[in-house]
């Protein structure tokens, strides 16, 4: 309990939520559509399944936490348009077979009621793309692959809608950032050191290489792969550096980026090589796990890592969406490792699902009349500020992923909580409850939201 208390205190400091907790709980920040139909006595189920116990479990567990909190939040306020909110989910353990079985069970058990499905992984998205279209079920996903969102040709929008830009587009956006910063990257060469699955390989496609090459940013043709179970990846990192890389890009999460950063510190190259990655490298788990190794300046190894940040982050406390989620997080006594991307985005996904449902019910006149096709039609015309500003969903003109992104840097807070620390002397260190000290991760945006390049189908 004491440990949880300390973690909660940490969260409050990070989120700057102490003042807001002292006040009343704030109103729901989103400008949702008015309910024109009374749904009292009905139930809106949020269906989702994915890997809750396999290789990705450590980032997906907060999805269930956020959904549990969101369902409790809405039901505690009389439901959505009077309807009770509930979640129906299954753990597939990261297995394709289990994902297919879950899908079959959901479709046979819930039939017409299943119009909208939340998925976690690109692999599941690719597996179910055709079936979702056939069964006319809309699916939400955080960041699907090209094949899942747009088909093999990259040009055929399907029934899946992603809240983040495609990973390949995020990489293209990073190349834009590098090309626009010659003072930081005078002769940029990017080498991939990444996980070997579909997620990890995103951005290693020739199209991305050509696009970046056109901007004057060389990308090494041979990516270096490592596994989440690897204890030593010096060989992969040195391979990339021997190949000429002065920027290492990774599509990995949790201990993945921390392992690369540790290898760079071990090799004494932390000042010469820049580490960067997809939006998941900015996650809280990375900031916490990256503290095992300190750089020569005394700050954690992942300090200074660059990454995509296509949504608002926990530290942007002037944003009402972030304030609201932070309040809910604290009110539900969630632990620090859960204060991650998944928890934040799941609140956003619930908001989007409810907004799409309300708009569709308003149009069709009843919950029973809502179909997957109707929801898809709603989604395609949506231009919506999720949770009042967490991110923007715009799926017009055949778009199935987000189009806006920005680059951020992972830093650690200073003692006055006014910005990033420059060294251990001015870094905010908090007792971790076990005799040690924790640096507080801080994400600092380096650019405004801008359009990502569209690299699919090239």
């Amino acid at each position: 309990m004491k440990k949880h208390g300390i973690l909660l205190a940490l969260l409050l400091v990070i989120g700057g939520a102490l003042p807001s907790l002292a006040q009343d709980m704030m109103d729901y920040p989103a400008d949702m559509s008015e309910c024109e139909v009374d749904l009292s006595g009905e139930t809106i189920n949020i269906f989702h399944f994915g890997d809750l116990s396999g290789p990705y479990a450590f980032i997906t567990q907060p999805i269930v936490s956020a959904l549990t909190d969101a369902v409790a939040y809405w039901n505690g306020r009389g439901g959505v348009c009077g309807a009770e909110l509930a979640q129906v989910y299954e753990d597939t353990g990261g297995s394709r077979e289990a994902a297919q079985s879950a899908y079959d069970r959901f479709t046979s058990a819930y039939g017409d009621e299943l119009d909208l499905l939340l998925l976690y992984s690109s692999d599941d998205g690719e597996l179910l793309r055709e079936q979702l279209a056939e069964d006319e079920i809309v699916s939400f996903i955080s960041a699907g692959s090209i094949a899942s969102l747009y088909g093999e040709d990259g040009q055929t929008p399907g029934w899946l809608f992603a809240s983040n830009p495609l990973y390949i587009n995020q990489f293209g956006f990073f190349c834009q950032f590098v090309a626009a910063s010659p003072e930081l990257f005078p002769d940029p060469v990017i080498g991939f050191v990444t996980w070997p699955n579909a997620f990890g390989r995103s951005g290693t496609e020739p199209a991305a290489r050509e696009y970046c090459g056109g901007l004057g940013v060389e990308v090494l043709a041979e990516p270096q792969f490592f596994l989440p179970t690897d204890t030593d990846i010096l060989t992969q990192v040195q391979n990339a550096i021997d190949g000429g890389a002065n920027i290492i890009y990774t599509n990995s999460l949790a201990s993945g980026p921390a392992l690369i950063a540790s290898a760079l510190v071990d090799l004494g190259l932390e000042e010469e090589i820049t580490l960067a990655g997809v939006n998941w490298v900015m996650d809280t788990t990375v900031g916490l796990l990256g503290q095992r190794v300190l750089k020569s300046n005394g700050l954690p190894a992942v300090d200074g890592m660059l990454g995509s940040m296509p949504f608002r982050w926990w530290t942007e406390q002037d944003n009402p969406a972030v304030q609201f989620v932070t309040q809910q997080f604290a009110a539900n006594n969630r632990s620090l490792p859960e204060q991650n991307i998944a928890y934040l985005l799941t609140w956003g996904a619930v908001d989007s699902i409810l907004e799409a449902t309300i708009r569709t019910v308003n149009r069709t006149g009843s919950l029973e009349a809502v179909t997957g096709a109707e929801i898809k039609s709603t989604m395609q015309s949506m231009d919506y500020a999720v949770l009042g500003g967490l991110m923007q969903h715009r799926y017009e003109d055949g778009m199935r992923d987000a189009t806006m992104n920005r680059i951020a840097v992972l830093k650690y807070a200073n003692t006055t909580m006014t910005g990033p620390a420059t060294g251990p002397d001015d870094a905010l260190l908090i007792d971790d409850g076990a005799g040690g000290k924790l640096f507080l991760p801080l994400v600092v945006p380096l650019s405004d939201f801008m359009e990502v390049p569209q690299l699919r189908g090239q």
Partner: protein, 394 residues
């Protein structure tokens, strides 16, 4: 011509293998020739040290196999459980007295009822159970956070013994005398149960296990940089201290187990039991007790490996997959060989690293090279490098 081939089939097969091996060695030699000496040295060091951890994991699997003939597919999850128990004691400032007491009592009860539950009816045994539980509880809770290593080691020891004994008592023991394959399948079921238990008890969020840290700086020990060899190697090679610690621990465990199996009566009884459980029972060996000890020891070894791996990269459910990577090492060394476990672990570690050095983009190091080496060795020595050659009389 066909008759010549038929008559000299074996020699020709060997000749083909020899040619293939020579070509492979030439190919690899050519590839390595373009690499700096520092890279080759670093790859060798990394492979050796990572291989030590593999060897420790392999040892746990081999110990079970050596004593019972069962290939334990649950070993990876025993690593996770052990690591998580260690984390629970290591990262909290105040240990729950009730929790520690419960764990100690359960462990002692399982130990004292290894032969029969009726043993508890004896007053002496009850006293030992109570005394042992009190002592264990004291070790887990005495003092403050400055004694966290003691708390964590005592807690992990108790947790591992409890896990091992529970697995043996409730899943393996009922299968004594049944086909071995049934017990092997049972370990798959045990793996899933441990998976579920871990998830319920500790969740799935990756946890930081700060065991390899300098207490002054609270950060990982700085690696040893081989500056003296910089010129000779045309670059720098480094040695990670936490991997050295893991390697040394693995070596100590190996030496201990070699001595244990060779010179102690329990070790010899374990070996006899693995040969034939029914025969061992008929000559008066207490198969139940021997199997129980084996599983407890294997669970403890798994816990050590879990702590080492968790300390090096973070504690998550992914640690269980390390055991899968170790399977080639176990088969390569020989299923029943302690020495083979260490040798197999080190060989696979080095092969993985060199495979990665030469071609990481196609995952040669992890997906191809270990299995190619395993195939080659098994063709030449079907029982592994150090496995016992068995002659079946029909």
């Amino acid at each position: 011509m066909s008759e010549f081939i038929y008559r000299n089939k074996q020699q020709l097969t060997w000749a083909l293998y020899a040619v293939a091996t020579v070509l492979l060695v030439l190919f690899i030699g050519d590839q390595l020739a373009g690499k700096k000496a520092a890279r080759i040295a670093q790859t060798l060091i990394s492979g050796l040290l990572v291989g030590g951890v593999y060897g420790l994991v392999a040892l746990g699997i081999v110990v079970i196999n050596k004593a019972s003939g069962v290939f334990n597919f649950a070993h990876g999850w025993m690593m996770v459980v052990g690591g998580m128990i260690f984390w629970s004691f290591f990262t909290v400032s105040e240990i729950s007295l009730a929790g520690a007491g419960l764990l100690s009592a359960a462990t002692m009860l399982m130990i004292m009822t290894t032969v029969s539950y009726r043993d508890l009816l004896k007053q002496r045994n009850l006293a030992i159970t109570a005394g042992g539980a009190l002592a264990l509880t004291a070790l887990m809770t005495v003092g403050g956070i400055e004694l966290r290593w003691l708390h964590a080691l005592a807690g992990t020891f108790a947790g591992a013994i409890l896990t091992g004994l529970a697995v043996e008592r409730f899943t393996i023991r009922p299968l004594i005398g049944q086909p071995l394959f049934t017990a092997v399948l049972m370990t798959l079921a045990v793996a899933e149960v441990l998976h579920g238990v871990t998830q319920i008890a500790w969740g799935t969020v990756e946890l930081n296990l700060p065991v390899f840290v300098n207490p002054q700086t609270n950060s990982r020990f700085k690696p040893i940089r081989l500056e003296a060899f910089r010129e000779a190697l045309d670059g720098i090679a480094i040695i990670r201290v936490e991997l050295v610690i893991a390697f040394v621990l693995a070596l100590l465990a190996f030496i201990g187990f070699i001595l244990f199996f060779r010179y102690t009566s329990v070790g010899l009884a374990m070996r006899a039991t693995s040969e034939d459980q029914q025969l061992a029972q008929s000559v008066g060996l207490r198969v139940r007790v021997i199997l129980a000890i084996t599983w407890a020891v294997a669970a403890f070894l798994a816990s050590i490996a879990g702590v080492l791996q968790g300390g090096a990269v973070g504690l998550s459910l992914n640690i269980s997959f390390v055991a899968l990577r170790v399977f080639p090492a176990v088969l390569l060394g020989g299923l029943e060989s302690i020495t083979g476990a260490l040798a197999g672990g080190i060989i696979i570690g080095i092969v993985e690293q060199f495979g990665t050095l030469l071609n990481s983009s196609e995952q040669v190091g992890t997906n191809l090279a270990p299995y190619a080496v395993l195939m080659l060795v098994l063709v030449i020595r079907p029982d592994g490098l150090f496995g016992q050659k068995r002659i079946e009389r029909i």
